[in-house]
């Protein structure tokens, strides 16, 4: 890329935050306008006064002497006026001249100001246009989008939020796909039982009543399983069968979540350490534990300062697994700690826009942890970071809430 002075300037300019860019732009325009006005007015005033004073000066040869041929040839214009009217005529004329000049200058300044702002504002709007084109074109993968570096802070935040949102959708979609595959898979077993029974019975040349009852029993059992599957698909089942427990590797889960949240953490330059053990496993509902961990780590990121650190660790017990998420961020006040699990309770109301998020994370986490039969605890000190600890037991039929 050729480094023209314009592009060098543009790069420099773009490094400022959007707000500063706008301020700078306005200052430049006003300064230029002001300078133009000042210069032209000063010039105008100077020249007008001088001019007027000159034309109104009284000639020293004012006496008329007969017989002087020299003096009679050239009649002197003698204006005998008093000082007051002289002043008022001069002022009037000055006023008219000034008004005309001001008018012209203003128009001129406006035009220059317009040209300047049109030119400079391009610097501001171009990166925004480029970003929206990049995202709406839909041809870039999420990893490519993530890799793009935005020139200033506001765009960088926006970019991170968009990529995170895209990633969330992606993961939700993947979860749904997996769910469908799992359900389809479960159809095979009951269908296989019916199929085999019918195939074998079809070949019999003579059947007994016992054969008949056996066939009925098989179809009965298999159909019951299929009915359960249908319920699962429709999401109507609110009992334990809605929890589809499987073995989850804690390390992998945390690593995937960190990856998912990387646009957010990169933006704030936050380091997230995955200190969970490779050998730690949980038998639980994967969707729930995914949501829990994502919420906890996301909160840590949101409440951390620039360059902060988040540490995720785990302890395996006989009954399940304890997972801890610690950060060295802004922390939570003792008073707020008690109310933190209430929905919509936002710790520092004035900070809500700054930190982002919607404040719904922890109540959801608590509800899910309870559903899985676990516990959650939170320790924090204002200014000294926060530590959230959850315990999730391995899935057992009768222990789930």
């Amino acid at each position: 890329m050729v480094k023209t002075p314009s592009s060098v300037l543009r790069n420099l300019f773009s490094k400022f935050s959007l707000r500063r860019q706008l301020i700078l732009l306005i200052i430049i325009v006003f300064t230029v306008l002001g300078a133009i006005l000042f210069i032209s007015f000063s010039k105008l005033i100077q020249s007008s006064v001088f001019h007027e004073v000159q034309s109104l000066r009284i000639e020293p040869t004012s006496s008329i002497e007969p017989g002087n041929p020299q003096t009679q040839k050239t009649p002197n214009p003698v204006i005998t006026l008093d000082i007051e009217s002289m002043e008022s005529i001069a002022l009037d004329q000055l006023q008219i001249r000034l008004q005309k000049s001001i008018g012209l200058t203003l128009v001129g300044a406006l035009l220059i100001g317009l040209l300047l702002s049109v030119f400079l504002s391009k610097f501001i709007s171009t990166p925004i246009e480029e970003l929206s084109q990049s995202i709406s074109s839909g041809t870039k993968t999420n990893t490519e989008l993530l890799g793009e570096i935005m020139p200033n802070q506001e765009l960088s935040d926006l970019h991170a939020a968009i990529v995170l949102s895209l990633r969330r959708f992606e993961r939700q979609f993947e979860n749904q796909q997996q769910f469908l595959l799992d359900v389809a898979h479960e159809f095979r077993t009951p269908v296989a039982s019916i199929r085999m029974k019918v195939d074998v019975d079809k070949k019999k040349t003579s059947v007994t009543p016992a054969d008949f009852y056996s066939l009925c029993a098989t179809v009965d059992r298999s159909t019951a399983r299929l009915e359960q599957l249908i319920m699962k698909l429709r999401g109507l089942s609110s009992d334990q069968s809605a929890i589809h427990p499987s073995t989850v590797s804690v390390r992998t889960l945390v690593a995937e979540t960190i990856e998912l949240l990387s646009p957010l953490s990169r933006d704030k330059n936050i380091e997230i350490q995955n200190l969970t053990n490779l050998n730690h496993f949980l038998i639980t509902e994967p969707l729930f534990i995914q949501t829990i961990i994502t919420n906890l780590i996301e909160n840590s990121i949101l409440y951390s300062k620039q360059g902060g650190k988040v540490v995720v660790s785990s302890i395996q017990t006989e009954e399940g697994c304890e997972i801890r998420v610690e950060d060295n961020g802004i922390g939570i006040d003792k008073e707020d700690l008690e109310k933190i699990f209430n929905r919509f309770y936002r710790v520092d109301k004035s900070k809500s826009r700054q930190t982002g998020g919607s404040g719904l994370g922890l109540p959801i986490v608590k509800a899910l942890v309870n559903r899985l039969g676990g516990r959650i605890s939170i320790k924090s000190e204002l200014g000294n970071g926060t530590e959230v600890e959850i315990f999730v037991p391995d899935f057992q039929e009768n222990k789930v809430a």
Partner: protein
């Protein structure tokens, strides 16, 4: 043929084993890996029908174990895991065939016959043994063009002797592979069946092959 069916679904394995017995096979059912290995140790099996999702182990691990104990046993996987990569995994692990559930019984029968032929190095379902033509698909035996009617047991007996043509097959082996253990372990049943078979063959005019008795040892199908 003696078959070991390893599957934890009771409905499925009950119907399947019943169907296979109706076809004249001897079937043992194992509901988990431990039972399967125990039975495998106890009896000689020609074919294993193996499910992969077992409660105490993964079928692929069992497959490996079966192979290492007896490299010549036939293994056919019957599994709910039907994805292509899963089939590839199963076959590469050493299975001879792979069927994904739900399975059609007749298809399974045809595949079992195909596997049996492969083991014999017989490619065609029609086997010529001396004057006899054996159609292994339809389980019919002919001399010239006329059919020799055999009972299920007689057919299996002839088939097994053909499988081991020229070799002496012990009566006990015949019992294990053709009668199962439900029937009493009397070599009398074998002797009787051999005698019936010989009679039928003779009556049909078959002079080649012949069933030769080696006293106290076993029987052999011999071609001249």
């Amino acid at each position: 043929m003696r078959i070991l069916l390893v599957d934890d679904e009771e409905d499925f394995s009950d119907s399947l084993s019943e169907g296979l017995r109706n076809e004249g096979y001897v079937v043992d059912v194992a509901l988990n890996g431990e039972e399967a290995l125990f039975l495998y140790d106890l009896y000689p099996y020609d074919l294993i029908l193996l499910d992969l999702n077992l409660p105490d182990t993964d079928g692929l691990i069992l497959c490996d174990k079966f192979r290492s104990i007896n490299p010549k046993v036939l293994i056919c996987i019957l599994s709910a895991r039907g994805e292509v990569f899963e089939k590839i995994e199963g076959l590469d692990q050493g299975a001879d065939d792979y069927l994904s559930k739900p399975i059609h019984f007749d298809e399974l029968l045809a595949r079992i016959r195909a596997l049996w032929r492969r083991n014999l190095n017989v490619r065609s379902p029609l086997i010529e043994v001396g004057q006899l033509s054996i159609d292994t698909n339809l389980r019919m035996v002919y001399i010239a063009d006329s059919e020799i009617k055999l009972t299920a047991k007689e057919y299996r007996l002839l088939e097994y002797l053909t499988q081991n043509i020229g070799k002496v097959v012990a009566a006990e082996e015949l019992i294990l592979h053709i009668w199962g253990e439900q029937d009493a372990l009397f070599s009398n049943s074998v002797r009787t069946q051999i005698s019936y078979l010989r009679t039928k063959l003779r009556k049909a005019g078959v002079s080649n092959p012949v069933i030769v008795t080696t006293v106290n040892i076993g029987y052999t199908l011999v071609i001249e």
